[in-house]
Subunit: 283 residues, 2 copies
């Protein structure tokens, strides 16, 4: 069993906010994650909800800024978040770009060297981390949701579509919906997966849905004052594709809201309620 | 009228989270503050609630970490927080200590040079900043509360006791209640006010209450797993003094909770409701 190093622990809304570090086999380096255990774990196993954060964030960002614990406590969900990439890999140029490399793992397994040596965030999250959570915490099996923000919204949507047996509920805040068609995504996919765009489709939400992948009803919130909306996010493309294919989607636009955590915190309660509702039905 | 530089603005819970910088006459240097305007300002002036943060914090800390906007939006209160000291004063040693100097203004007007040249946080908050808020934002006069955390709890309690006409409601999280009798306070008071302890009484909550100062009913929350409880905070002294003198106090101890913002966020809703209740009665 993976040995976990408890870095800190804090009471929060009747539950426990904890930060861990461990040696990851998949990443081949130490990795950090955070977990909020709601008070309901005293009475048995609870559903788990993974949050995937955006560019430049760490395993701390969501737990500090989103105000999620209040709602996780209310609905009895465990929250798990993780760092957004491997760190200190010694790959040249790893920290040269804020939107690629460290802090920008894009939640996929890189196939191009040298990134492929460590940058395997999809396997880390869907296999190794999920196994740790299921084995070492009071998490209910087959009762797992995933959500995220921006790059992490892309991660949540693509992982949910690619691993329908693992994730029963999905939502996102301002996700990158079509990385093949925006500068952030093109840069990352080229460097992590190579020039052949056929290999990108498995890591692009719009392409996956076009190709027949499905997941449970999606809830997506998008601010209309988001500085990245026009160039990077493409929610209109996702909406059209969902309409055409029958993938269920609730896409809400919000006048005045931007891309940051003040936006996320305003709607976090709705998202956790969404996951609670879907996970309770499938329970 | 003071010219305010808007540094950033974010929609949050139907209201607006804003960050400002301005040249302060009282501090004789630029100062920064943050303000959350709830949606209710569309219909007229609203009560104002000042939050004073703890050692090492800035005007951002409370707005990012406490999850307060949700409740300010619900109850229709404006929130204001400010930096915890002047910055970049060129006073030698200003940044040598995390618990004195920069980030540790202790919410008083220093009387000892060189600190007295800039470290005048009491006058800044009670005069200059309050004037800015009343003149340039839709704040309701004579409907003002104050609260804070740790050093900022000390600030909130002492300013409320010293300025009863200005503040109608008061509360605190894990406040330094008797700075004359703890290491943090003794270091700060000695350096800012000099060796004569007679001058410290005006900046020590327990002493002020002993000396006959009063304010409206206090709400104080204190974690029992707070790493600073035994040495720095002395809630028992405050409780005894309140009992003896008739100052109304609700002091709540919380098993397992520590000194940080995961503790504050767990009870922030109760505090904002407390201020709402007191301010609505006095309205």
């Amino acid at each position: 069993m993976t040995v976990l190093q408890l870095r800190s622990k804090h009471c929060c809304y009747g539950g426990s906010q904890e930060f861990y570090k461990h040696d990851s086999k998949v990443i081949d380096l130490p990795m950090c994650f955070s977990i909020y255990q709601p008070p309901q774990v005293q009475h048995g196993r609870v559903p788990v909800l993974y949050f995937l954060a955006g560019l430049t964030c760490t395993e701390e960002t969501f737990m500090i800024k989103a105000g999620a614990q209040q709602f996780a406590s209310k609905y009895g969900l465990m929250l798990v978040s993780m760092d957004t990439s491997p760190r200190h890999t010694n790959i040249p140029g790893e920290t040269d770009h804020w939107d690629f490399g460290a802090g920008a793992g894009f939640y996929l397994d890189a196939t191009v060297a040298p990134w492929s040596n460590h940058y395997r965030m999809e396997s880390y999250i869907t296999n190794e981390l999920n196994e740790i959570i299921m084995q070492q915490f009071p998490a209910k099996k087959d009762c797992v949701g995933i959500f995220g923000h921006s790059m992490g919204g892309h991660g949540a949507l693509t992982l949910a579509l690619r691993h329908p047996d693992l994730y029963q509920s999905t939502s996102a805040f301002a996700p990158i919906t079509a990385p093949s068609r925006c500068p952030w995504g093109q840069k990352a996919l080229t460097n992590y997966l190579g020039e052949n765009q056929d290999n990108w489709r498995q890591h692009d939400t719009v392409s996956l849905i076009e190709d027949g992948y499905r997941t449970s009803e999606l809830l997506i919130d998008q601010g209309l004052n988001d500085q990245f909306l026009a160039e990077q996010l493409n929610p209109d493309l996702l909406e059209k594709t969902c309409k055409k294919t029958g993938q269920k989607l609730t896409l809400r636009y919000h006048e005045g809201y931007d891309h940051g955590y003040y936006f996320i915190s305003s709607f976090i309660g709705d998202h956790i309620k969404h996951h609670h509702n879907v996970l309770t039905k499938t329970d």
